[in-house]
C-alpha cells in the first residue's frame, strides 16, 4: 500500500478516503545511466509475476509534454519557466496517470521523478526552498532507486547512444562552448547534487557501473520486498479497475 503522504502541501482536491493499493517506484539517475533499459526489463518481470504495471516518465503528459519538447528544441526556455513547465507536466501525470493507477492496484514505474528536476534546478542556482515548495504536491514514493555511475562509465554510454545533447551538457548556462567540456562539468555537478539529495530523499543506491544483468538482478532483489502483499491482477481486471479510477478522477474534476 502506498502511504498517502505528500512532500509539502497536499495536492489540491485530493481525497484521502480512497487507499492506494499499488506501488510507486522511481528510478533516478543521471543521463546515460541505463534507467530506461532497466525499466523495460523490470516491467516485463513484474508483469510476469501477475501484477499490472504502468510506466511513465518526464515530459510524457498529454497536457505539457509537447510544449516542453518544442520549447527545448528551440533552446528558448529560461530556468524558472523550465521548472514550472516540468511541474505542470508532473502534476498532470500525477493526477491523470499515477494516482488512478495506484488506486487500481498497479505498480507504477517512473523514469525519473521530482529529484532530477530539483537537481537540475539546484545546479543552475535556483532557490532550494522554492523548488521544494513548488513540488510539495508530489506523492512520496514507496522507493527511489538511484542508479549511479561515475563519468568515465557514463561518457562512452552517452556517446554510443546519441551523443551529447544541448541540455544534458548544461549548455544553457555553463560558460563552456565545447560540448565535451560542458558535459563533463554539468554531469559532475549533477552527480554531486544527487549525492546530497540521496540522504534527504532516502534513495536506495544501485551501482550502475555493473553489467545490465547485474544491475537488473540487484534491482529485482530490492524490489521483491516492495511487492509483498500485492494482489495479482489479470490484465482484463487491471484495465477495468484503471478505467474506473480514471473515470472517478474525471468526475471529481467536473463534478
Amino acid at each position: 500500500m502506498t502511504k498517502i503522504h505528500f512532500y509539502g502541501d497536499e495536492l489540491a482536491g485530493y481525497t484521502r478516503k480512497r487507499p492506494l493499493p499499488g506501488r510507486l517506484i522511481v528510478l533516478e539517475g543521471t543521463d546515460g545511466v541505463g534507467r530506461s533499459t532497466q525499466i523495460a526489463l523490470l516491467r516485463e518481470w513484474i508483469e510476469s509475476k501477475g501484477y499490472a504495471v504502468q510506466s511513465t516518465g518526464l515530459k510524457r503528459s498529454v497536457l505539457a509534454g509537447k510544449g516542453i519538447k518544442e520549447a527545448m528544441r528551440g533552446h528558448t526556455l529560461g530556468i524558472l519557466t523550465t521548472n514550472l513547465f516540468y511541474a505542470t507536466d508532473m502534476v498532470d501525470r500525477l493526477e491523470k496517470i499515477i494516482l488512478p493507477a495506484l488506486r487500481a492496484g498497479f505498480v507504477v514505474l517512473t523514469d525519473r521523478y521530482i529529484y532530477s528536476i530539483i537537481a537540475r534546478a539546484m545546479v543552475r542556482g535556483v532557490d532550494p526552498g522554492w523548488i521544494r515548495d513548488v513540488f510539495g504536491f508530489a506523492l512520496v514514493p514507496d522507493a527511489v532507486f538511484y542508479l549511479h555511475a561515475d563519468l568515465p562509465h557514463l561518457i562512452p554510454r552517452v556517446l554510443n547512444a546519441r551523443g551529447f545533447d544541448y541540455w544534458e551538457s548544461g549548455m544553457d548556462f555553463l560558460p563552456h562552448r565545447d560540448y565535451y567540456e560542458a558535459f563533463v562539468e554539468y554531469q559532475s555537478r549533477l552527480l554531486a547534487q544527487f549525492e546530497i539529495m540521496a540522504e534527504e530523499y532516502d534513495f536506495c543506491r544501485i551501482d550502475a557501473t555493473l553489467s545490465i544483468r547485474e544491475v537488473f538482478q540487484n534491482l529485482k532483489a530490492e524490489m521483491e520486498d516492495l511487492l509483498v502483499g500485492m494482489r495479482p491482477i489479470s490484465p482484463a481486471e487491471a484495465e477495468r479497475e484503471l478505467a474506473e479510477a480514471q473515470a472517478e478522477q474525471q468526475a471529481k474534476r467536473s463534478r
Binding site: 502541501d9 489540491a12 518544442e70 528551440g74 524558472l80 493526477e95 491523470k96 515548495d133
Partner: protein, 253 residues
C-alpha cells in the same frame, strides 16, 4: 521602484493592474500606456497568459478541459515566469517602465477560488518581482457582471469557473466564481498593500488618479530616444502598434 524577491531594487518601475473581469483595469492601463509613451518614456507591456512558449499548452489544456486546479495554477506560473525572464526583468534592469495587465494577484485570487492552498500559491510565485505600484480596480460584483454579461457573451469553460462545480449554468457559475474571486481580492488589499481605485468613477477621473499616483515614480526613468515617429505618436495620441513592422531599425536616430 520594482524589487527582486531578495529585496534588491531594480532601476525600472513595474506598474500592474488587477481586478475582476469587467472592472475596467485594461482600459485604464491602455490609457496610462499612451500617456507614458506620449511623455517619451520607454514602456514595455506584458499581458497575463501571453507567453509565446507556454500559451499553446495553456490553450490546449483549456480547450480540452484537461486542467485541474493545480495544473491550472502551475501552467499560469510558467507563463508569468517566461514573461518575467524574457520581457519584464530585462526591461526593469534597463530602467524602463513595465506595465502588466494582471499579475500574481490574479493567480492568488483565481487559483484559491479554484481550491488550491493560499499558502502554496504564494510560495509558488515567490520568484516574482515586487511591483512598484499594484492598482486594484474595485467594482461591486453586480456592476462588473452587468458590464460583462449584458451582451450575453459565450463564456468559456474555465472563464465561467465551470470546473469548480458551483453551478451547471455558465452564467450562474460565472457570477458565483467572480464573487469568490472578488472576496480573495478584498483580502489581499491589506496583505499586499494594493492601491485601490474606485472603478465605478468616470474613466477620466480614474485615469487622473492613476497618473497622480504614478507621477512621483517617474524621476530618472529611461526615456526612449526621441525620433520623428515618436513625435507623431505623442501629438496624435496613437500607439504606433504596427510601426515596428514597417519601420526598419535605421529609421531610429
Amino acid at each position: 521602484m520594482a524589487q527582486l524577491p531578495d529585496g534588491r531594487a531594480l532601476p525600472g518601475k513595474l506598474f500592474i493592474v488587477e481586478g475582476i473581469d469587467g472592472s475596467g483595469k485594461s482600459t485604464q492601463l491602455d490609457l496610462l500606456r499612451k500617456w507614458l509613451i506620449g511623455l517619451g518614456y520607454c514602456v514595455a507591456f506584458s499581458e497575463w497568459n501571453s507567453s509565446a512558449v507556454v500559451k499553446a499548452t495553456t490553450k490546449k489544456g483549456k480547450k480540452k478541459q484537461m486542467l485541474t486546479s493545480t495544473s491550472f495554477s502551475l501552467i499560469h506560473a510558467a507563463d508569468l515566469a517566461d514573461r518575467l525572464e524574457r520581457q519584464v526583468l530585462p526591461a526593469l534592469k534597463a530602467g524602463a517602465i513595465v506595465l502588466a495587465d494582471r499579475y500574481v494577484y490574479t493567480a492568488f485570487a483565481r487559483d484559491v477560488a479554484r481550491g488550491v492552498s493560499p499558502a502554496w500559491v504564494r510560495k509558488l510565485y515567490a520568484f516574482a518581482v515586487k511591483p512598484t505600484v499594484a492598482f486594484y480596480f474595485r467594482v461591486p460584483l453586480e456592476e462588473s457582471l452587468r458590464r460583462i454579461l449584458d451582451g450575453r457573451p459565450t463564456l468559456k469553460y474555465y472563464e465561467a469557473g465551470l470546473d469548480v462545480g458551483l453551478s451547471e449554468d455558465p452564467y450562474e457559475s460565472f457570477a458565483l466564481f467572480q464573487g469568490r474571486i472578488l472576496e480573495e481580492y478584498e483580502k489581499m488589499v491589506d496583505e499586499f498593500g494594493l492601491t485601490v481605485i474606485d472603478g465605478t468613477r468616470r474613466l477620466v477621473e480614474q485615469q487622473e488618479i492613476v497618473r497622480q499616483i504614478i507621477q512621483p515614480q517617474l524621476k530618472g526613468v529611461l526615456r526612449a530616444e526621441p525620433s520623428a515617429w515618436r513625435e507623431v505618436l505623442a501629438a496624435e495620441s496613437v500607439y504606433g502598434r504596427y510601426l515596428e513592422e514597417v519601420l526598419p531599425e535605421r529609421n531610429e536616430p
